[in-house]
Amino acid sequence: MSTDFLYGIEVIINGLMAGVLYALVALGFVLIFKASGIFNYAQGVMALFAALTLVGIMEGQVPFSHLINAVFGADIHHFGWHVPALLAIALTVILMIGFAWAVQHFVFRHLVGQEPIILFMATIGLAYFLEGIGDLMWGSDIKTLALGLPQGGSRWVEDITAGLGGDDFYGFFIDKLDMLATLVAAVLVAGLIVFAQYTKQGRAMRAVADDHQAALSVGISLNFIWVLVWSLAGMVALVAGVMWGAKSGVQFSLSLIALKALPVLMLGGFTSIPGAIVGGLIIGVGEKLFEYTIGAPFLGGATENWFAYMLALIFLVFRPQGLFGEKIIERV
């Protein structure tokens, strides 16, 4: 097999893995959109916030220490203890549920029945708010996640595949973290699909998405459903934050991963959980392959960002609701 071809395959495999990482972020979007028609721009910031919180708890940081120091002239930073990872994760999850409740109670409860764009705007407001709170609470420096996640290419894959090509083929490179992410994503998606399609709460969630008023009228508690999905989305955000934060450290830019998830979402359909995964895979492979074959050699590179959107756009022209999105009902 020619080396170029093998490298092409390597690019595809890595594209698939990158796609899974995008999908992790997209999943959170899908959950909330499905249940409330809210396009939650804050999903990226939620990932940041969750990851910040996890690190902060693990390291025993005093929340809001900066603010406290500034206002009261104190000088406190750490409690001086370290929380074990699992306990910290549990605490973070509890905090995210609290966050979900607060979001619901203080914001979206009051916006029931508003147009989608208004809800969307509110989530942008939420994103700003949460970003500011995250900074105030845990500081804006870069933090290192010490969860002991695997890092680096898998030697094993590299060794057994090295024989496939000639001398200038070094075997496939697959990141161990990406493999873990794939596993996690698979479990998450399977769980969420079962939840949405086959449980009473899942059905109620889809009903709420269609018509808030009607859902209320049959006795579905919007509050409960929304706290539920925001909590789920918060947990998905935590997973995404951890996976992405393992690469880059936990820092502000983590919130920008939302932008990588949008084309995925669009391609897979805003309402489809499997769509998020399939969309992620297509986008991941598509953008990597384009960069490999056309972008880097001919266009000077760095084409991935816009190409992902263009790819999604082209798909949409043929399927306006995305690959797996619910059909847009057009009737008069």
Binding site: Y7, E10, V11, N14, G15, A18, H66, N69, H77, D135, S140, D141, I142, T144, L145, Q151, G152, G153, Y170, F173, D175, W244, K247, S248, G249, Q251, F252, S253, L254, L256, I257, K260, K288, E291, Y292, G295, A296, G300, G301, A302, E304, N305
Partner: protein
């Protein structure tokens, strides 16, 4: 009273870099106030203004501080620098953009009010190549060097220089652009893995650095062959990758080591409760750079006071001081920071300094950057014509007749 604005950014995507720099910048002036009662008897008043690395906020900061009698601007952002160059020039306020901003501002005859010593990006590219030449017995012929750069004006700065140098020394240059913010660099590093360049040079900033270091480690690229520029070589760039980052190198224009002045800052500023930040950055790479920048500004002000014989100097006087600045080893030692930067002396023609930089290496076990070399000189024969060309173009476009003030 001397008013020094500090256009800092402690928020947003680049906060991790902006914060220590600003801490160092302010702490040094605080030290001067605490120890010497300011500069030449005049107390320094710092006006901090948060830009968030955002150009519009930068303009707002400039406008709101300039009325207070700001003496010198250092915006720590190439974008803001570009906006401020014409404004500051029109307002007759000097700017100092150390190791960033508009490279051709080194030509003081065109950019009368802008100073970018001790070195600029083109110097940096040349220093990196000179270092590699040195490592390879002055021969880079047939070597492969990859440039991983932030796909923005900043990241594209070294390209021309490196292209010229690759022609000169016969190395093969591969350019790999990374789009902002740089969270996803799989394609670029897979390409590096395929092509196995001998060296990778990186022009990165923000999250791009952390991810690049991690990805380089992931593909098993030898860290000692990976060199970042001086905005890609601070502690926070390497710590997220943990031990895997050990051996990563970067350029620097200010040597990081224990200086007596740091102890003074600790006792006179931090312990007195006047630290600009939370005090945790003392002695870090960017903190030292901020402090070094402040030192240059303070010395220029002192020089201005000396030239004009008044203590309450005006911005144009400070400009004169900046232009007459002379940094010698003796002076730096006197200030308690021996060897912090290269020796240079400014002049009307030369606002860019000597262009020297050094290479430092990350020691992950101890968590410190270790200077590896002395200050290395760039190849002026390559850079000077480029500067002359670019500044001439600017002069032509804006109808400036080059000359001294």
């Amino acid at each position: 009273e001397l008013v020094i604005p500090d256009l800092s950014y402690r928020t947003g995507p680049y906060a991790a870099g902006g914060t220590p720099f600003s801490d160092g910048y302010q702490d040094y002036f605080n030290l001067l106030n605490a120890r010497d009662g300011g500069i030449g008897g005049e107390v320094v008043r710092i006006l901090e203004c948060e830009t968030g690395y955002n150009t519009e906020k930068g303009v707002e900061c400039y406008e709101s501080t300039k009325g207070e009698g700001a003496l010198i601007y250092q915006p720590l952002s190439t974008g803001i620098t570009y906006q401020l160059i014409p404004k500051a020039t029109a307002d007759n306020i000097p700017m100092h953009t150390l190791g960033y901003g508009r490279t051709s501002a080194a030509n003081g005859e065109v950019f009368n009010w802008v100073f970018n010593y001790p070195a600029n990006y083109w110097d940096a590219a040349s220093v990196a190549v000179n270092y590699l030449l040195d490592e390879n017995g002055d021969d880079l012929d047939g070597k492969k060097i990859a440039l991983v750069y932030h796909n923005s004006a900043y990241g594209k700065e070294p390209i021309r220089t490196l292209e010229a140098l690759s022609e000169m020394h016969g190395f093969e240059l591969t350019q790999l652009a990374v789009d902002h913010p740089g969270q996803e660099q799989k394609s670029q590093w897979l390409q590096i893995r395929r092509e196995r360049p001998d060296y990778v040079i990186m022009w990165g900033w923000g999250v791009m650095n952390q991810v690049a270091v991690q990805e380089a480690a992931n593909i098993g690229f030898p860290m000692e062959n990976f060199i970042g520029n001086w905005w890609a070589g601070a502690e926070h760039d390497v710590t997220p990758a943990g031990m895997a980052a050990d051996g990563y190198k970067s350029l620097n224009m200010n040597r990081v080591q224990d200086y007596p002045v740091l102890d003074e800052i600790k006792t006179l500023v931090h312990d007195a409760g006047n630290a600009a930040g939370d005090g945790s950055n003392l002695g870090s790479v960017l903190y030292v750079r901020g402090m070094y920048t402040a030192m240059l500004a303070a010395d220029a002000i002192a020089k201005a006071q000396e030239i004009h014989g008044v203590s309450d100097v005006t911005p144009p006087m400070v400009r004169d001081g900046l232009e007459a600045l002379e940094m010698t080893n003796a002076r730096m030692a006197e200030l308690g920071m021996e060897g912090i930067g290269p020796e240079f002396s400014a002049s009307c023609q030369n606002h860019g300094g000597s262009g020297q930089g050094l290479v430092q290496q990350w020691n992950a076990a101890d968590g410190v950057w270790v200077p590896l070399t002395d200050f290395i000189a760039p190849d002026d024969s390559v850079i000077d014509p480029l500067i002359a060309e670019d500044s001439a173009a600017f002069a032509a476009e804006n109808g400036i007749t080059p000359g001294c003030l």
